[in-house]
Symmetry: C2
Subunit: 218 residues, 2 copies
DNA sequence: ATTAGTCATATTGTCGACAAAATAGGCCAT
DNA sequence: ATGGCCTATTTTGTCGACAATATGACTAAT
């Protein structure tokens, strides 16, 4: 066995990942029906593993399942996006608060380094920032909270759904420069171990994102 | 078809409910292994439905599953309880905020009525309050938020876990009178449509509960 | 005595077949 | 035509069997 624990990957895992990717990226259209038999032949696995994969997708709120009827990919609505950001504001705000309390000094330094890297890239004219960079920034703070429930809910639960909205409603990389300043201030608050401020700044950051998205969609 | 939509109940549902109850009430001990075959014979269903039930329990964070090894009921630790209340503080705080915004006047009146009923019972010397009453109070505010993600996360996700801690660590009904006053103030804030205050009071209410529990356990 | 290796057993992962339920289409009555 | 009922087909729910992996016991070498 290797030094770092490597989880065994089962067939259901692979099917789950594949399906999730196809749904998030829009390969499988939002609101469409998921036929077990069809997916079974498409991915070359038995219906049992497809069912397990679909069950997990339901846990992520990416599909909705009704007994004896079947599973549909969730529909994307403005209402749903707003609700999603409300939860996100709450959870990530708490994550920032806990990160200010629980991140090690080394982790905070790493985070500052990440921010610097992003700064260089943005200065160099890259619009790349928003997609991977923003996700990475938020991801580190979530993990830095050291709260397993929080981490699970956000990483396994909400982030793929958020990404699905981003990809399919085509909101790629706006608000780059202002968002970067907000990130910087959040990191500063965490570095100062100012829990209250870190939470407040994160909540406002996400609130602004939400308002920005809402404005563009109406 | 009936007036109110009645969801079909599948066998996996029943097994899931049964297992969840057994775990929460401690009939199945925390940290113990769940053998698919054993449960299959015990409940008289096939392994497939037991597997589906266990998968759903995993979504609720009531069991942890490792590929090719099996599922164990989660272990109850003080650390875990603290993390749980941190998330709860965040989510229910947001629920109170949204309830202040989204509950109808009629729903708020109902909530006041519920509080009065509890008041009479407490005055009558019943210690019954905490268990059903507290849950009901929080439940109504969660639903009153009208945010499906929030509702799902709390009702399907966290509440059974919280109840598991309550039952098995034997913390039934303390803090009755003070908690009642806190509930009253929260309802007043919601009634005044004061979102900020409602959120703050709910967060403090849960924070107090957490501290109360922590104090008793050390 | 301890450790590594091997083999037998038990448990989980996957599959195809059957049962139950829902959907679709045609048929009949109005 | 329209609406309700019945049948045929499709889809999901459940089951038992087989394959792959982990667990535990036993042996042997150091």
């Amino acid at each position: 066995m290797n030094a770092f624990t490597e989880k065994a990957i089962t067939g259901a895992d692979k099917t789950f990942f594949q399906l999730r990717s196809d749904i998030v990226e829009g390969e499988i259209k939002a609101g469409s029906k998921l036929s077990e038999m069809e997916l079974s032949t498409k991915y070359g696995v038995s219906r049992a593993v497809v069912r397990e994969a679909i069950n997990r997708l339901e846990s992520c709120h990416l599909v909705e399942r009704k007994p004896n009827i079947g599973a549909r990919v969730v529909a994307l609505t403005l209402e749903g996006l707003v609700q999603l950001y409300q939860v996100r504001e709450s959870l990530e705000g708490m994550a920032a608060r806990l990160a200010a309390k629980n991140m090690t000094d080394a982790e905070i330094e790493d985070l500052k380094g990440l921010l610097n890297t992003h700064f260089q890239e943005v200065k160099g004219g890259k619009t790349y920032y928003q997609e991977a960079g923003d996700v990475d920034f938020h991801y580190r703070i979530i993990v830095g909270s050291k709260n397993d429930h929080l981490i699970s809910m956000l990483v396994n639960g909400l982030y793929h759904l958020i990404r699905m909205y981003r990809v399919q409603l085509g909101m790629a990389g706006p608000r780059v420069s202002t968002a970067f300043d907000e990130h910087k201030n959040i990191v500063q608050a965490i570095s100062n171990r100012d829990e209250e401020l870190a939470e407040m700044l994160m909540r406002r950051h996400i609130l602004y994102s939400k308002q920005n998205i809402e404005a563009r969609l109406r």
